[in-house]
Subunit: 405 residues, 2 copies
C-alpha cells in the first residue's frame, strides 16, 4: 500500500536527498545565458569607469551654469571651444570659466563640468565659439562614474541562474569568463510492452511512444544533457532493472515513464527494490502523480512517472523541476506559484487535488487563466499549470498557477 | 533629418522587406522543440489506435452493466474471468454476457465492453471468478479510439513554432521526423572606439563591450546561429563598411550596436549609404530607438541600434523579434502584448512614448507589473517590457506589456 504524501512534502524529501552538482567549468561570458554561476562575482571596476557624456553636445563649466541660469531672455552665454573629445579618447581635461569642449556620447566629461548642453541647443558663432540661450539647461546629461555598477558591488551570487541582463552586466565590468556548474545529464527510460518508436509499423495493441519526445523537449528547455538508452523497454523486470542501472552509471538523474502503478505489469517499483534503491515517496496525494514515486540510490534520484504524456508534462514541471534545479546547483529552486482567476471550468474533483494545463489570457485588463482540457493549442499569452484544490475548479475561482516556459 | 515613425509602422515596413527562410532540414521528432515546422502535418492514425483501458481492472459486458445497475444492495454480479490481457497484447476479444477479462492499463478493450471496473472494486470468488457489488460503476474507464487525435486531423500547420506538447502529439501519431526551417544566422557588430573586450586591460576613456554578450544571449534564447566578426569595431567608416559587408555575405540578418546617432562619429548610417542599402525607417517615435534605423540590401536586413545595452535589450524584444520570427518562417510573428496595471512609477515622459523593463508580480490575487529602474535583479514571476504612453507611468496606470522569456 502507498502512503500518499503532498506534492510539497515529496519535493522537500527529494531535495533532501538530491546532491547539488559541484563540478565547475569555465565558459566565455557571452555563453552564460541560462547557466548556473558557481561563484559569487563582484565588480572590480566602476561602470561607467568615468563620468561619461550621455549625448553629443558641449560641456558647460560649473561657474558658467550660474551665469546661464541668471541670463535675461534676450541674452546668451558665449563660450570658447577649446577641444573636441570623442568616445574612447583618453584626454582628461579641466574646464575653465568661459571655455567649453565639444563632446561626443560616451566620452570622458572634463573636470568642473556641470552639464552637457545638447548640440541642437547651441548656436555656432565662430570657428571655435558657440553661444547658449537661457533655458537650455535641463539635465546634467552626464552618466556618472559608478552609477550603473560600483566597484566591489556584488554582481551575482553562486547558484543564480543567469539571464541575459546579468550576462550583460557581468560583461560590462570586464569579466571575460564565468565559472558555472556543468549541466546535469538526465537518463530517460520509457517502459511499456505496448510502446513502438515513431516511424516503425504499429502492430495491433501497440501505441507510439511519445514520452521520449516530450521528456527530451522538457530537458532541452532546461539545458540538460539528455541520455536515452534502449527505448522503449518491454514490461520485463530484468530489462527495466538493467536500464535503471545503466542510467545510474551514466547520468545524474533517471526519469522513467510507465510501469509506475500497482498492476501485474507495473514492474518499475519491483526493479527499484531489486536495485536496492530507497524509496523517498510512493504516491502523491494529487492527480496526476497518485502512483508516481521517487527513489534514491548512491545519491542519485530515480523518478517513476505514469505512462500518460499529459501527466508526465505536469509532473515534470510541478515535481521534478525544483529537484532538477537543486541538481543544477541553483540556490532558489522553488517553482514560482502565484494566484490567478479561472476563466473557465476545469475537470473538478470532490476529494483530490488536481493539476492541469492552462493558458494565461487577458480579460478586461486582468490576467486570468483558462484551463486546457483537450490538448488544444495555446493561443493566449503563455502556458501555465493550474493547481486546483478539491471542490474548486469553477469559472472565477482563484487557483494557484505557475508559468511554463 | 529623421522622419520618425511609430514602432508598429517600423515593424510593418521591415516585415514587408524581410524574406522568410525557406530552406528546410529534416530532424528527429524529439528534437522539434522551438523549431518552426515547414509543412502542415496531419495524423495518419487515430490516437489511441484502439479502445484502450484507462486502468487495471475487469471488463464488463454491455448486457451485464444493466444487471449491475439493477442489483439490490445485498446482491452482487458474478462473472467468469475468460482471459488476461496486458498492454501491448494483440488479442482482440469479444465479451459474452457473464464473462469478464482481466485487463491492464493501455490494453485493447474487448468488443461489447461497457466499462472497466477498477480492480480495487471487485472481489475474487474463485480461481477464475469475480463478483462486483452494486454501485461500482462510475465511469467507462475507456480511452476511446481516436479520442486524443483522429486520423486525418491537422496536428500543426507550416510556420508554427513547436512547443513540447506539439512535439509529443506529433510523436504520438508515429511521425519520426520533422521538416523544419533551418535556423537563421545573425551577424553581430558592436562599434565604438571606446569599446574594449572583457578580459583586456581598460585604458583611460574606454569601457567594456557588453552588447556582444547581451545580443549573443538574446539570439541563443531565440535558437539562432550567432556570427561575430571582428569585435569591437572602431568608429571608422571603412571598418564598419567592411564588417556590414561581411555580415551580409555570411548571415541572414545583421544587428549593429553603437554609432547609430547623428554625431560626428556615428558612422553606421554613412556605412549603410556607402553599401547602397535602402533605409526602411530612420528613427522611432519612442525612447529607446529614436535614433535607431533599419536598412535592406539584397533582401537582407541590417538593424542599427544605439550603444546603450538597456536600449539594445528592449529594441531586440519589441522591434527585432517579430522580424526575426518572419525570417525564421513563423506565420504568427507578432509580439504578444497585453494590458497590465503598474505597481510602481516609471520614468515619465510628457511627449514621448517610452519602453522600459519590468517584472510581473502577484498583488492580492492579481498580476501587476513593477517597472525596473536601476537594473535590479528580477524577483517576481517573470520579466516583461512595459510600453508607457506620454503622460502615463504612474502607479495603478494601465499600460501595455509583453513577456520576455
Amino acid at each position: 500500500m502507498r502512503e500518499r504524501i503532498s506534492l510539497e512534502s515529496a519535493i522537500e524529501k527529494c531535495c533532501e536527498q538530491q546532491r547539488p552538482c559541484r563540478n565547475i567549468e569555465t565558459i566565455p561570458v557571452e555563453h552564460g545565458y541560462k547557466r548556473v554561476i558557481a561563484k559569487d562575482l563582484k565588480a572590480f571596476c566602476d561602470v561607467p569607469p568615468f563620468n561619461s557624456s550621455r549625448m553629443d553636445g558641449y560641456a558647460l563649466c560649473r561657474s558658467d551654469l550660474d551665469i546661464l541660469k541668471n541670463l535675461s531672455d534676450s541674452d546668451s552665454l558665449s563660450l570658447q571651444v577649446v577641444a573636441h573629445i570623442s568616445a574612447g579618447n583618453s584626454a582628461k581635461l579641466r574646464l575653465l570659466p568661459g571655455q567649453t569642449v565639444r563632446i561626443m556620447t560616451g566620452a570622458i566629461v572634463p573636470e568642473e563640468t556641470a552639464a552637457i548642453i545638447k548640440q541642437e541647443d547651441i548656436t555656432r558663432t565662430g570657428e571655435e565659439r558657440i553661444c547658449i540661450g537661457r533655458g537650455k539647461y535641463h539635465h546634467s546629461n552626464i552618466l556618472f562614474k559608478g552609477s550603473l555598477i560600483k566597484a566591489g558591488q556584488e554582481l551575482v551570487s553562486a547558484g543564480e541562474l543567469l539571464n541575459y541582463n546579468q550576462v550583460e552586466r557581468i560583461a560590462s565590468t570586464g569579466i571575460p569568463e564565468l565559472p558555472v556548474y556543468i549541466q546535469p545529464a538526465v537518463y530517460i527510460i520509457n517502459t511499456g510492452s505496448e510502446l513502438t518508436l515513431p516511424g516503425k509499423p504499429l502492430a495491433e495493441g501497440k501505441i507510439y511512444n511519445s514520452n521520449r519526445s516530450l521528456l527530451t523537449a522538457k530537458l532541452q528547455k532546461e539545458h540538460c544533457k539528455i541520455l536515452i538508452g534502449q527505448c522503449p523497454i518491454e514490461d520485463n523486470l530484468e530489462d527495466i532493472y538493467r536500464e535503471i542501472n545503466r542510467g545510474l552509471e551514466t547520468a545524474d538523474m533517471v526519469i522513467i515513464s510507465g510501469g509506475a502503478a500497482d498492476g501485474d505489469y507495473d514492474l518499475v517499483p519491483s526493479a527499484l527494490k531489486k536495485i536496492k534503491a530507497d524509496f523517498i515517496y510512493n504516491g502523491l496525494r494529487m492527480q496526476p502523480g497518485a502512483k508516481s514515486s521517487a527513489a534514491v540510490k548512491d545519491g542519485k534520484l530515480v523518478f517513476s512517472l505514469p505512462g500518460n504524456p499529459g501527466a508526465n508534462g505536469i509532473l515534470f514541471e510541478a515535481l521534478i523541476m525544483p529537484i532538477l534545479n537543486k541538481l543544477k546547483g541553483m540556490k532558489n529552486i522553488t517553482n514560482n506559484w502565484f494566484e490567478v482567476v479561472l476563466a473557465g471550468n476545469t475537470i473538478k474533483s470532490t476529494n483530490l487535488r488536481r493539476m492541469c494545463r492552462g493558458e494565461l489570457l487577458e480579460r478586461c485588463g486582468s490576467l486570468v487563466a483558462r484551463p486546457i482540457i483537450n490538448n488544444e493549442p495555446i493561443k493566449g499569452i503563455t502556458s501555465v499549470i493550474l493547481d486546483v484544490e478539491p471542490g474548486q475548479g469553477n469559472e472565477d475561482d482563484i487557483v494557484r498557477a505557475m508559468l511554463v516556459r
